[in-house]
């Protein structure tokens, strides 16, 4: 598990998502990367019942890189609390359906091909919410390093190499405070949640 940076890639006005994904795939393959299967990150959000006091949101996320784990993040106003559990947590959430109701229409996921290039692992994810294309998220992981601070420069350079200089690459909001700490899988999940929340707010739908 190395340091991962999630980057949003804007889709031009008159282009479709698949076109952009194909373009990026060609670019990455030209660099000498090899395709290494598919990946999927999905997120489902549950709202607490009004009788429980102030409304809280629980996000349940799955990452195909950690197939045995279920990540849950509880948003309670000021602070986010996360719990990593095993697969049975999904069943537990079903039992809690009285207290936490699922917002089915906000189920969002990012999936697409995964590439390996030396020590880097690149994932091109197209984000869909209820089968509606929302945008493109690019995940780049540098596997030998676990400290974000030590590798940020390298990752930025790599990202700019792939995405082109027109796109400004900034360190993710979540990582800013954790640059000197050991990177863990939940950090990736937080980044995904950040982007997913942003996508949910965008109402404009784009055709894939």
């Amino acid at each position: 598990m190395g340091v991962t940076v999630l980057q949003q890639y804007p889709v031009p006005e008159n282009k479709t998502g698949t076109y952009v994904i194909d373009l990026l795939t060609k670019r990455i393959l030209a660099l000498g990367a090899t395709q290494a299967g598919q990946f999927l990150v999905d997120c489902e959000s549950y709202l607490s019942h009004p009788t429980m006091g102030s409304t809280k949101t629980v996000h349940i996320l799955h990452n195909s890189e950690q197939p045995a784990s279920v990540f849950s993040i509880l948003e309670s106003g000021t602070k986010n609390i996360h719990v990593i559990a095993d697969g049975l947590f999904d069943l537990l959430m079903m039992k809690l359906s009285q207290h936490y109701t699922s917002k089915k229409q906000t189920k969002i996921e990012s999936k697409g091909p995964k590439f390996e290039l030396g020590d880097f692992c690149i994932k091109l994810g197209s984000v869909t919410m209820n089968q509606n294309f929302k945008g493109i998220l690019i995940e780049v992981e540098y596997r030998p390093c676990v400290m974000a601070n030590a590798v940020w420069g390298l990752l930025r350079e790599f990202l700019q190499g792939i995405l082109g200089s027109t796109i400004s690459v900034q360190p993710p909001q979540h990582l800013l405070s954790r640059m000197n700490e050991i990177y863990t899988p939940i950090d990736t999940i937080y980044q995904y949640l950040e982007h997913f929340s942003a996508y949910r707010k965008i109402t404009g739908l784009r055709s894939a």
Binding site: A68, S69, F71, I84
Partner: protein, 640 residues
């Protein structure tokens, strides 16, 4: 019965077995409820029979009222239960008949249309004497049966008392202390399978317990040695006899035909010591259990051999598994089962026995047994702590994998577990490596006398890893110089750690180990000479362990050193080539054969030291090379 005894009690099966699943679990039918039971019993009533009887006895009036009372109940059941249909039909028929009868009776009572006349019954011809004789005969026959039984009982009891015959129930009690028994209707059956110990083998191990006939007990009592028993156990024919797993390692055969011929000659003892019939039940059951165990082990190994994809595929033929563990070395695992029925087979094996070169390997057989026991144990003993919720069985690491966010690779690593076959192959490989290593070290120690080669095998080792320490030293000079190295013997590789800390990984080709030891021997000689020289006050002028000069060596490099005597007038040069041996040269100054020539005129040049002359080492005094060198140095140091 002074001692208290533990008896396990099992309830007999009261319910019928509905289904037996493939893993041997029995699913019972639920017991009938009260109403179902009543319905079932009611269906069994034979109404026609009772009709006839009632007609004969002519108690129609009473019968009619009874039927009526039943009839009253009937409509309620009719509506709710279909099974009552036949009952209803029969009752209806009965009602019709009874009504007809009532009509007839009422007509007869009027005495106007019908009169009932009593019929004169035929007088039965009674011959009392015949009856008496008949009864007497029947009684005496019954009495004879009873008396016979009493006689037999008394006889057996007295015989038991006087001759110390074993008691069936005491024996049964002893059997129950060690084996699982249960009573099924009139028979006692037991289970000798390893199910309760964690086995998941499908074959059952059911045996039956019966009482031995008295003649056999008497015969057993007369026979010397054998302890008589009133019990007789019957094991199924597939578990009779003796079985064992034969494991042998052998050089690969030239062609498969001879390999199969030889391997079919698995020596198998014909039967257990003592004849089969007179065996004590304990031994008999233990043998049968062993047969079952061996069968399970072999079935598992065969399944794994088929599943595993090795570079050279494993061959499973009949009751044999052939595996290639190292190039040209085969491991052969066979199931030998002799149930005493195919006697001609055992004779055949005896005649072929002389062909078999490879010996049965008891250690590997034992390891196989151990491995399967470990599997059984892990099936029943789950690692602690047990989770309060969630499945039981996965390891602690696997249960933590989710919360710790383990990735795919880690999960794959966790799910990988070595099969029995892989483990036994590793053990066999290690066994071979160890034996070959021993052989190489022993032959070198035999060949090379000059530096002594002493190898110490560590007594503590694992089935797949052992370690040997090799000391190279010269007799009498072990304090001056000794070279030691450690060789770790693994499954397919050797790891040598030399004195200078260098680690060399060697393959299973043992020529590599041999070459390495020879290099170490010559290196030892060179360092030994330098150490002796230091003790003698000689001065080391130069030394090189990898000489560039001279012909190319087939193994390692030539090495050399140059020593000067304390006062500097003599020099010894030693050159060591692993393929040739050690050569020693000496030179002295002033040289004795210095003559003034035209080119070199000055006398002072005689101090330069002369040409080196070779010393014939084999002609020298001294026990070994270092001793010879010490003598040579002593000789050259003394003022001549």
């Amino acid at each position: 019965m002074a001692n208290s005894v533990n008896i396990s009690i099992e309830a007999p099966i009261e319910n019928q077995i509905q289904e037996i699943t493939y893993d041997g679990q029995e699913i019972y039918q639920a017991p009938l409820s009260m109403s179902e039971n009543l319905a079932r019993l009611a269906q069994k009533i034979d109404f026609s029979k009772t009709d006839d009887e009632f007609c004969n006895i002519k108690k129609e009036g009473e019968n009619g009222s009874e039927v009526k009372s039943e009839e009253d109940k009937e409509p309620g059941y009719q509506s709710s239960l279909w099974p009552w249909d036949s009952v209803r039909n029969k009752l209806r028929n009965a009602l019709t008949e009874v009504s007809v009868l009532a009509d007839v009776l009422s007509i007869a009572k009027e005495k106007r249309y019908m009169v009932l006349d009593p019929i004169q019954a035929d007088p039965i011809e009674s011959r009392p004497m015949v009856q008496v004789y008949g009864r007497k005969k029947a009684l005496s026959a019954a009495g004879a049966v009873l008396l016979n039984g009493v006689e037999r009982l008394r006889a057996s009891e007295t015989m038991r008392m006087t001759r110390n015959m074993p008691d069936f129930h005491i024996d049964l009690l002893r059997l129950r202390q060690n084996w699982r028994l249960k009573k099924v209707s009139n028979t006692i059956v037991g289970d000798l399978s390893y199910r309760t110990a964690g086995s998941k083998f499908s074959q059952t191990g059911v045996f039956e317990v019966t009482k031995a006939p008295e003649e056999q007990i008497a015969a057993a009592m007369n026979a010397p040695g054998a302890a008589p028993s009133a019990l007789r156990v019957t094991v199924p024919p597939e578990l009779q006899g003796v079985a064992f797993i034969s494991v042998r390692c052998q050089k690969e055969q030239e062609d498969v035909v001879t390999a199969t011929l030889n391997s079919s000659a698995l020596n198998c003892p014909g039967s257990l010591p003592g004849d089969g019939a007179e065996l004590h039940w304990q031994q008999k059951l233990e043998a049968a259990q062993n047969v079952l165990y061996c069968k399970e082990l072999f079935a598992r190994l065969a399944a794994e051999a088929v599943q595993l994809d090795a570079s050279i595929p494993h061959i499973v033929v009949g009751n044999r598994i052939m595996l290639t563990i190292l190039p040209s070395i085969q491991l052969m695992i066979g199931l030998c089962h002799n149930n005493g029925q195919n006697n001609n087979n055992t004779e055949g094996t005896k005649s072929q026995g002389s062909y078999v070169k490879a010996e049965h390997d008891h250690v590997l057989e034992h390891s196989l047994h151990q491995l399967l026991r470990a599997v059984h144990h892990s099936n029943t003993h789950h690692p602690f702590p047990h989770p309060a919720t969630g499945p039981l069985g996965p390891s602690k690491r696997r249960s933590l994998a989710g919360p710790m966010g383990a990735d795919r690779y880690e999960l794959m690593e966790m799910s990988r577990e070595q099969s029995l076959l892989e483990q036994i192959v590793q053990q066999a490989q290690h066994f071979f490596m160890r034996r070959r290593g021993e052989y190489v070290l022993d032959t070198i120690a035999k060949e090379v006398k000059d530096p002594l080669i002493v190898s110490h095998w560590n007594a503590l080792n694992s089935p797949t890893h052992s370690c040997v320490k090799i000391n190279i030293m010269a007799y009498g000079y072990d304090a001056v110089c000794r070279t030691s190295l450690v060789v770790h013997v693994g499954e397919k590789t050797l790891k040598c750690i030399c004195r200078d800390g260098k680690v060399r990984n060697l393959s299973y080709e043992l020529q590599e180990l041999r070459d390495l030891i020879f290099c170490q021997i010559y290196q030892h000689q060179m360092t030994g000479v330098q150490a002796v020289g230091r003790c003698m006050g000689w001065q080391l002028l130069a030394s090189s362990s990898h000489l560039g000069a001279g012909p190319v060596e087939p193994l390692a490099n030539a090495s050399s050193c140059l020593l000067a005597s304390p006062n500097g007038d003599r020099m010894i040069a030693i050159r060591c080539e692993p393929s040739v041996g050690i050569q020693v040269f000496i030179a002295q100054s002033p040289k004795k054969d210095f003559f003034v020539s035209e080119l070199v005129q000055d006398k002072k040049w005689e101090n330069l030291g002369g040409a080196f002359k070779e010393v014939k080492l084999e002609k020298m005094e001294g026990k070994n090379f270092l001793n010879k060198m010490e003598l040579l140095m002593a000789c050259l140091s003394s003022p001549s």
